[in-house]
């Protein structure tokens, strides 16, 4: 690992001032950043340790019923918090499907949103071509081993996928990211915070320079009774998703009143599915099949990941069936 300077501020203002200095990067759990630094993919010259910044680790209810998850709340604490377990079980389920218990004890909500793709070619500097690591250098995954790569929303610049389970559930739950900078505060939906690769795959998120994630807010919803996170991976646990589905339904007297369905593991960000066709009718097999078919009609598989198209269809049907039960 390259040398770097280290600073440990105690409040957000100091953290922002330190972060504004060239070469600075925030560190909290560090589970992805230190890994990337060991491989030389990330090389900050100053780490700003925000773990001692006060007031960023709480999970609490806001007036109006939204639940606020502080940026420093660990994935482990979030998954077992009563407000999350009872009101947003989909998020608890997604969090527990990710990483391992030891990693979840370190990993934070803010860091989870900022983690980088696990594309082998991004991670391995032995491959020169990676537009995400080195803009303009090409994409080794296009003609490489691309079993884990995107089938939706990719570009010729980058076919990497977002590795987060948490983010898939957050998009389904219409979560908002609370940001702060020296210029003030703003909020942005998680679905807009994360980006598709387009022409600038080096930019994973719409976090502006000098901004810090303060919290993630979950608005109230009626999905708690009918939600399910399904994760399909190469082994039973402790692996990234090949395909995942966050399914949330509001069902009243057997009729679907509202729903959110998001695919993970298939795109550069969680991929929202149009569920208009489910609303106002019972969730029958034909509705499920047509939703799943429409969701994948624009899929563009690569050499090694065509299986993800059919896998995604089946995962959508399964997740929605379980959620409805």
């Amino acid at each position: 690992m390259d040398d770097f300077a280290y600073a440990r501020p105690h409040d957000v203002e100091a953290a922002l001032r330190l972060a504004a200095m060239p070469g600075s990067q925030f560190i909290a759990g560090g589970t992805n950043l230190i890994d990337l630094m060991k491989g030389g993919v990330e090389a900050p010259t100053r780490l700003v340790d925000i773990t001692q910044v006060s007031g960023l680790a709480q999970i609490h209810e806001l007036p109006g019923g939204a639940v606020r998850i502080g940026a420093l709340a660990t994935n482990a604490d979030t998954a077992i918090h009563p407000l999350i377990r009872e009101r947003h079980p989909l998020l608890a389920q997604a969090l527990l499907a990710g990483a391992s218990p030891q990693l979840r004890n370190l990993a934070t909500a803010g860091g989870n949103l900022l983690q980088r793709t696990r594309c082998y070619y991004f991670y391995d500097k032995g491959f020169a071509a990676c537009n995400k690591r080195d803009p303009g250098s090409g994409c080794a995954a296009l003609e490489g081993f691309n079993r884990h790569h995107a089938i939706l929303g990719a570009s010729e610049r980058c076919i990497a996928t977002n590795p987060s389970d948490m983010a898939v559930a957050l998009v389904a739950l219409d979560a908002q990211v609370q940001l702060r900078s020296a210029r003030g505060a703003r909020q942005i939906p998680v679905s807009d915070f994360l980006r598709l690769p387009g022409e600038t795959p080096q930019q994973d998120t719409n976090l502006a320079p000098g901004e810090i994630i303060m919290a993630v807010d979950l608005p109230p919803n009626r999905f708690a009774a009918h939600s399910h996170y399904l994760k399909v991976r190469d082994r039973a646990s402790y692996a990234f998703a090949l395909v995942s589905v966050a399914a949330a339904l509001e069902v009243e007297a057997g009729v679907v009143r509202d729903s959110r369905v998001v695919l993970g593991g298939v795109a550069h960000k969680p991929w929202r599915i149009d569920t208009q066709g489910l609303i106002g009718r019972p969730l029958d097999p034909s509705a499920l099949e047509s939703l799943a078919g429409a969701a994948l009609k624009d899929a563009e598989p690569r050499r090694h990941n065509a299986f993800k198209v059919e896998l995604s269809r089946r995962a959508l049907v399964r997740a929605l069936s379980v959620a409805a039960a």
Binding site: F4, P9, H10, I27, G30, P101, L103, L106
Partner: protein, 213 residues
């Protein structure tokens, strides 16, 4: 990373050099207002770019205070093994994928390879060497691992033990009082890989300690 390396041709030890650099840095290169806002800054300057400065670091490990001189890039794992000579904690993959380096930080299991030592100055760290009681009596989990033959080569065992001890604590603290099946135990131990495949016996050992309450 050794602190006693001589820098060729200078006659300075690395430690002396870094200490004098730190003194200069404290006055000259930390922007006004930052030194007071940050409780701790390890930073020097070379041609305008920030550089790391090794500093004295206090770690509380297995109930004992330790002091070491470390650069910020020192991982908790390397601090334990290379500086404190607590080699019970193992380096497997060094990338957070195997769990061999699992230790307890304030009672919670973490991968020490993916955490910086400098970030743990206020924490209570427990390694496999600290699981037994002061009189040398093995921890119930250590006894259960012996009774159930829950290892073969033993390389992953220190991490498995720390992880299993934390697992039991997590269950005890859970207000839902979950009753774990063998499948649940496997899921909750999935961050610890065993190349010898001792999993059935590890599960049996964990189950026994859980059932004993």
């Amino acid at each position: 990373m050794s602190v006693s390396d001589r820098r060729p041709g200078t006659g300075y030890s690395r430690r002396e050099f870094l200490q004098s650099a730190a003194t200069v840095a404290g006055a000259a290169t930390v922007p006004a207002g930052l030194a007071s806002a940050a409780s701790m800054i390890a930073e020097g300057s070379a041609g305008g770019a920030p550089t790391a400065v090794a500093k004295s670091l206090q770690l509380q490990v297995n109930g004992q205070p330790h002091e070491l001189i470390a650069e910020p890039r020192l991982t908790l794992l390397d601090a334990l093994r290379e500086h404190l000579k607590l080699t019970g904690t193992k380096k497997g993959c060094d990338r957070g994928q195997c769990g061999a380096c699992t230790v307890l930080v304030n009672g919670r299991r973490v991968n020490s390879c993916l955490s910086l030592a400098v970030m743990h100055e206020n924490d209570e760290i427990t390694t496999v060497e600290g699981l037994q009681s002061a009189d040398g009596t093995l921890h119930p989990m250590q006894k259960a691992f012996l009774e159930h033959d829950a290892f073969q080569c033993g390389y992953c065992t220190p991490g498995q033990l720390c992880s299993a001890v934390a697992l039991v604590e997590e269950v005890r603290k859970d207000p839902g009082r979950p009753k774990l099946t063998d499948e649940d135990i496997r899921e909750r131990m999935s961050g610890n890989i065993c190349r010898c495949g001792a999993y059935p016996n590890i599960v049996a050992a964990v189950r026994e300690v859980l059932e004993r309450g």
